[in-house]
Amino acid sequence: MNVIEIRNLHKQYGSFSLQDVSFGVKQGFITGLIGPNGSGKSTLIKMIMNIVVPDSGEIAVFGQKMPDCEKEIKQRIAFVPDESYYYEDLTIAEMKRIIAPFYKRWSEDVFQGYLEQFELPANKKIKDLSKGMKMKFSLALALSHETDLLIMDEPTAGLDPVFRRELLDILAGLILDEQKSILFSTHITTDLDRIADYITFLNRGQIVFSEAKDNVLERYVLVKGNKELLDRDTSQLFVGIRETGVGFEGLAANRSEAASQFGAHAVLETPSLEDIMFFTVKGGGIRA
């Protein structure tokens, strides 16, 4: 079952456009939205949150249409934007007192539990919080009103690896109950190599693929070999090739075909999401 269903979404912004974007976010799983800077990730998330209005297309969350049912939907969404917009001079406790009343199902116990778990001192001013602590505060606020869907825009950008691993653990903990779902965008794909169940890849405003991560990693293959192996035919296999003075490295979208073409003459490896993103974005003929 899909908690978010997006159909034929279009948005034009000057020279940038999102074109015919359709995908779903499955209930009970972690979906990663990847793509280079400027590919439309934030715009897409903002449209799901009705902060940006699409030119055409449909968005449904929990089976209800956005923006018709915006209020009901948003009561059930935990949203963590890419930048926090809090009053810097207020303390954590004061800021919470402003935000909590917006939610019908605010749970003070849950919030206090997160403050403790994240080691956030309630009397500390927002401006004195580190970037990681601000992120944790945003997360605590977002998760304290009995939500079914967590949406985060670049939650790990600018954070150290220690905190990023901690966050991944928190996310895996959230979906233990099989009900809650998570959508998060990131260009730091190593976070997703680990825990994401599904990957939606956006490039230049278009969906490249949206499917189970394990399928993606099994389908694509990274081929490394001598330049003599490259001719007009074999080059056709690649999504992107990087040629250097000492060989080539290319990403092919069809593992079995690449294996039969190159066999033992080249090294075949399972790519990382970063490899897939890099070669897809750069395309053919990268010279280093």
């Binding site: 233990l176 680990r194 994401a196 169940d197 991560k213 394990d214 099994e218």
Partner: protein, 128 residues
């Protein structure tokens, strides 16, 4: 039971999990009826996708080594004792072949090998 995932391994992660649980069942570390961590708990512990752990469990189910009960979790199956014994016998035979080959390489005669085996076997019985 321990499960260790290696990113450097050529085997996909689901296969690494499957093989390690299977080994624990075959060597008797996991006994019939014993419960396994839930698919989601295991994914969280290993920091990997739920889909990956699910696939490992599904493969183990197909081989009849574990049973999954909706709402209760997964358990080591008691149904497939014959299969488990067969698997263990095969491993036993592989080790015997290895010992035989090594004996030949070292110039140990069959009589010597049997004598040595008898001694080890008796020692093991006395230690019980």
């Amino acid at each position: 039971m321990n499960i260790l995932i290696s990113n450097a391994s050529a085997d996909p992660i689901y296969l690494q999990i499957k093989n390690q649980i299977k080994a624990s069942i075959l060597n008797g570390e996991l006994t019939p009826g014993q419960s396994l961590p839930s698919i989601r708990q295991l994914a969280k512990d290993l920091q990997i996708s739920v889909i990956t752990t699910k696939r490992a469990y599904e493969e183990l189910e197909k081989e009849g080594l574990i049973d999954s009960v909706v709402g209760k979790g997964s358990f080591v199956s008691g149904a497939n004792q014959a299969f488990i014994r067969e698997q263990r016998l095969r491993q036993w035979e592989e080790k015997l072949i290895e010992v035989t080959q090594e004996s030949k390489a070292l110039g140990i005669s069959l009589a010597e090998l049997i004598a040595h085996l008898r001694m080890l076997y008796q020692e093991e019985e006395e230690n019980r």
